[in-house]
């Protein structure tokens, strides 16, 4: 449930769902997101769900903060507002030249490559949110022994399709971008397709993601 609504500047609501980052809190964020989107409130121009926040920006020509806050506070979430969930399998190759940070991972996590891969591939990931760059999913949670800080110096260019990990999260670079996550492998599939106006993102909040290891040969011969 929304704990508190503040203003973010003069044209956005900052809805706080509490400190904790877990599936339950995030599920509420997504339920609110879905519900508000369905209401089609004309003055709203963006609703951005994240781990434990929902930012609602609006057209200041059409409505003001207090008025929209009152509207949002009246919204009730009931049990019928369930999440539509999909399970998506993402093939990834963790061989050279795709696994950019394996030596760093082995050193920092004090695990060998085999153990790291085993821990990574056994996991069912939950998609908390998408964004930063178009279609990038933020997936969690990695086990305690797999948690690592960002690179001290972020890469200027992370290759498209790279799968990165940091703290309890994994993500997928939907196109080449700067970034500081530790790169474990790369997927040959398109996770963001800008030719699809309706559902450009393969993975959406609430979905479950399973990674499947493929060889370099399978990667190179992969057909979409």
């Amino acid at each position: 449930m929304i704990k508190n609504i503040l203003n973010l500047g003069d044209a956005a609501l900052y809805c706080d769902f509490g400190q904790d980052i877990n599936k339950e809190t995030n599920s509420y964020v997504i339920k609110y997101f879905n519900k508000i989107q369905k209401l089609e409130i004309k003055s709203i121009n963006n609703i951005t769900p994240s781990y434990n926040k929902l930012i609602i920006s609006f057209d200041l020509n059409k409505i003001r903060f207090n008025e929209l806050k009152n509207l949002i506070e009246k919204i009730q979430i009931d049990d019928e507002d369930t999440l539509k969930k999909k399970v998506i399998e993402i093939p990834i190759c963790c061989e050279e030249p795709y696994s950019l940070d394996f030596s760093r991972l082995e050193e920092k996590l004090k695990l060998n490559k085999e153990q790291i891969l085993k821990n990574f591939f056994k996991k069912k990931f939950f998609c908390y949110m998408t964004g930063f760059i178009a279609g990038m999913p933020f997936l969690g949670d990695l086990d305690e022994n797999m948690r690592i800080q960002r690179l001290e110096t972020p890469r200027v260019k992370v290759p498209k399709g790279s799968i990165g990990i940091t703290e309890q999260f994994a993500n997928i670079y939907t196109f080449e971008s700067p970034g500081g996550w530790n790169i474990i492998g790369n997927t040959p599939i398109e996770v963001f397709d800008n030719s699809k106006e309706k559902e450009p993102n393969l993975i959406n909040p609430g979905d479950t993601v399973i990674f499947k290891e493929i060889t370099r040969e399978q990667y190179l011969n992969y057909e979409q």
């Binding site: 973010l8 500047g9 963006n46 930012i55 200041l60 903060f65 998408t130 993102n201």
Partner: protein
């Protein structure tokens, strides 16, 4: 190919097609984009009697040099821009906020914006652009929008799909004012910063860095000390948010900003000051002033009334 088009002799530094942008896509990670300076964007379309959401060319610092091929058409430029109109027989200096007719073979050479960043060019007609999610706005980082998501390239062609033939000359008197004090509202992580940092934020001058673009305006000056945590759990952003990165420097989110971010938000620029904020060229000195939400709302209403009055004069 259409009979009416521009040849791009020189593309300029960062020339892109823009309109009002793409709302309601942040949850997918797709930025809003759209013209940076909304007032000048609206004015340029009104001057050439276009729908106010028509595509325009936005240029930054140095604009494009264009050669026109086709039947008579009018255009206008807004902002604070130096440009020439060259025909076979004459060469004149153009004025912003005034429409000009051009004919087959004429050239528009936009050398630079003056003490500002963005300028806008619109036609009495329509550029042949492509739409994605209802907007033609080009976002070069996400490779979305017109021109295959790219900025204008030298030697390319810009096709014109429609010309409005019943067109009368128009002009207004308008001078852009430069903003020196950016008014802000306290951000949601205001109390992450030390008393000294807050004091510095509002008292000291900051310089607009060369590393600024349509995504963000980086500022240089006093480093702002964070006493709590220099990272927050990633959450949504909006344009105008001022984040402070790990090195203590503020960065203001602009129209192409990433949809989520993990740096503390010290303040948010008020909507009324956004158009003039984006026009500050690198090297500009600025200061921040804190105001309350209700004042920000009133200032925006006044700013919008001014914009409407200008539009009504055309």
């Amino acid at each position: 190919m259409s009979n009416n088009y521009f040849e791009v002799i020189r593309s300029g530094i960062n020339t892109t097609f823009q309109d009002k942008g793409r709302p309601n896509l942040y949850h997918l990670g797709i930025p809003f984009s759209g013209a940076m300076d909304n007032r000048n964007y609206l004015l340029v379309n009104k001057l050439v009697a276009n729908d106010l959401n028509n595509p325009v060319l936005e240029f930054a610092y140095q604009g494009p040099h264009l050669k026109y091929i086709g039947e008579k058409i009018s255009f206008a430029i807004t902002g604070d821009v130096s440009f020439k109109i060259k025909s076979k027989t004459s060469e004149i200096d153009g004025n912003c906020y005034e429409t000009y007719e051009i004919n087959d073979g004429d050239e528009i050479d936009i050398f630079s914006t003056n003490k500002s960043v963005y300028g806008y060019l619109s036609l009495s007609g329509k550029f042949d652009v492509t739409y994605q999610w209802g907007s033609c706005s080009t976002n070069t980082k996400s490779k979305i929008g017109s021109n295959n998501g790219k900025k204008l390239q030298n030697q390319q062609i810009i096709e014109i799909s429609k010309i409005n033939k019943n067109f009368n000359k128009k002009r207004i008197n308008y001078v852009n004012t430069k903003i020196e004090k950016i008014r802000v509202i306290k951000g949601t992580n205001f109390d992450y910063f030390s008393e000294i940092a807050i004091n510095n934020f509002f008292k000291k001058e900051f310089k607009v860095s060369k590393l600024s673009d349509r995504m963000g305006m980086r500022l240089e000056g006093t480093q702002l000390e964070n006493i709590y945590n220099s990272n927050i759990k990633s959450e949504g952003l909006i344009k105008g948010v001022i984040q402070v990165t790990g090195d203590g420097n503020p960065i203001i989110m602009l129209s192409d900003h990433g949809t989520i971010g993990g740096y503390p938000k010290i303040a948010v620029t008020i909507s009324a000051d956004y158009d003039r904020l984006v026009q500050l060229p690198s090297g500009s000195k600025i200061k921040f002033q804190q105001i309350e939400l209700s004042d920000a709302e009133t200032l925006f209403k006044m700013y919008e009334m001014d914009t409407q009055n200008l539009l009504n004069q055309i």
